[in-house]
Symmetry: C2
Subunit: 313 residues, 2 copies
Amino acid sequence: MRILTRSEIQKRFNASRAIDRLVDGFICDWHGDVQLPASQNFRFEEADGDCCIKSAYVAGQPTFFVKVSTGFYQNPSRGLPSNNGLILGLSAQTGEPVVLLQDEGWLTCIRTALTGAIVARLMAPETTQCIGVLGTGEQARLQLQCLRDTISCRSVVVWGRGAPQLELFCRDASQMGFDVAIAPDAEGVARKCNLIVTTTPSRGPLLQREWIRPGTHITAVGADAPGKQELDARIVGDAAVVLVDSRKQCAEYGELSHAIRASLRTVDGTISLGAALATGDRLRTEESQITVADLTGLAIQDAAVAASLLDED
Amino acid sequence: MRILTRSEIQKRFNASRAIDRLVDGFICDWHGDVQLPASQNFRFEEADGDCCIKSAYVAGQPTFFVKVSTGFYQNPSRGLPSNNGLILGLSAQTGEPVVLLQDEGWLTCIRTALTGAIVARLMAPETTQCIGVLGTGEQARLQLQCLRDTISCRSVVVWGRGAPQLELFCRDASQMGFDVAIAPDAEGVARKCNLIVTTTPSRGPLLQREWIRPGTHITAVGADAPGKQELDARIVGDAAVVLVDSRKQCAEYGELSHAIRASLRTVDGTISLGAALATGDRLRTEESQITVADLTGLAIQDAAVAASLLDED
């Protein structure tokens, strides 16, 4: 079994190859050509931690993947990152373990960010005046980094809790080539931007319906578990297009779930990312429309980025 | 993360420490002090293979475990073993991966065999005249090896398909210090033995009710998935004691499931191994009673043997 460390993975990683794999993965999922067993979840009350085990196999591929990811929220006080994990690849021909990717959670972050870029290709407004970012963590940085390769806009407005984190984020965004401004609140982001990415662990709506400019697209990646929410349910209710990575998951705990509970939208009133990619139709039919992508995260994405590392150069 | 290979694991393995851990694990399971998410399962039709992911955490332990095990049944024709797999241990305090046990499936085999020995302590007849073994694979050998440390009987009668495998089994059993005879069929085993271990992947009853001598104990480990069966349902129906490792699993696909379907026994008419170990009561109340142990395999066993490897010497 081959073992790759986080730094080896990062060195080997090729974003465009990973995007191709992600697109294939979403389309295969939509065609039903994947095996995705239900996640396994642990909760460690005393240590304030959790663990999620997600596995996926795309029919016809040589390898299937098992991802173990952990989040222990008191780790930073010990000088450790909150998130950790690894991905194991096994042969779908012989069952032998073939690769262990000790990515420490990085592949989960990058696949989420690359999916944000894939969504932007499908849904971003014709002209992005300014990119809005809620949150200042690793996911916020990676989303911006992946958007840089997808759209030409180089203006960013960011909002987050904590001045030191905001300062660090601005420094990093500047180094990526963006002009960055800090907004005093989420409303300040919404009033200025027509492409917004929300990347926080919020448990209540940060963006209100009234603040959203016509023609805005919002990609929400924070709501990946029950209880989480970043968008006012009326945004999801009023959007001209609501794209979901998984109808099942989004209806259960994504942004969509809050709109369903408020009777503002039904599952049938959404389009899945796999379907959108398969047909390739432009989702926005008028430039004044508000659109939303609700991304909860699928094992198929982990399998896709992991497989991209095994592709021959 | 520490990585141990199969041979390092075997060198480090201490059976009595593992048994202590297994007993603790079954008792904790009975007390409800464990987290056992539902298994994840893959089926690879073309390659005739499957994969099962089982995870377990015993409350209060420093480590939780994820086991990935595979069975690819055309492997022997390529010179590869059918079974493979590994166990990953992660910190329940920080989520960090702490150990990778590349046991290639060996720990699953040995924990099943050690559980057979634990059951024999509870359920074997006062005097075992002869040990019967159905099957000639690695599990048959390991069961015998573990029984050797538990009961004094040194006579074995074995039945299996395939003369070469039978010959190899007899050679190995002799080397363990047993007098071994080959029976022409399963009936020949049942007629001579009062402690029988069944270790085959059979999909229909091998042992008939009429053949079983009064006072016999049978430990059945083959029925670990739907469709498998080694015992006539009437044996489970008529037994004075039916011990199960998991009421849920045994009712779903263990030997018990066939007796339930034939209305010969209910789940309430069984005792779980954890309960039996917690109370420590002798299960057989008369020497003429027939008793059965139905073992389907639990993630808690994997966690127990894996944890035993991390114990300080």
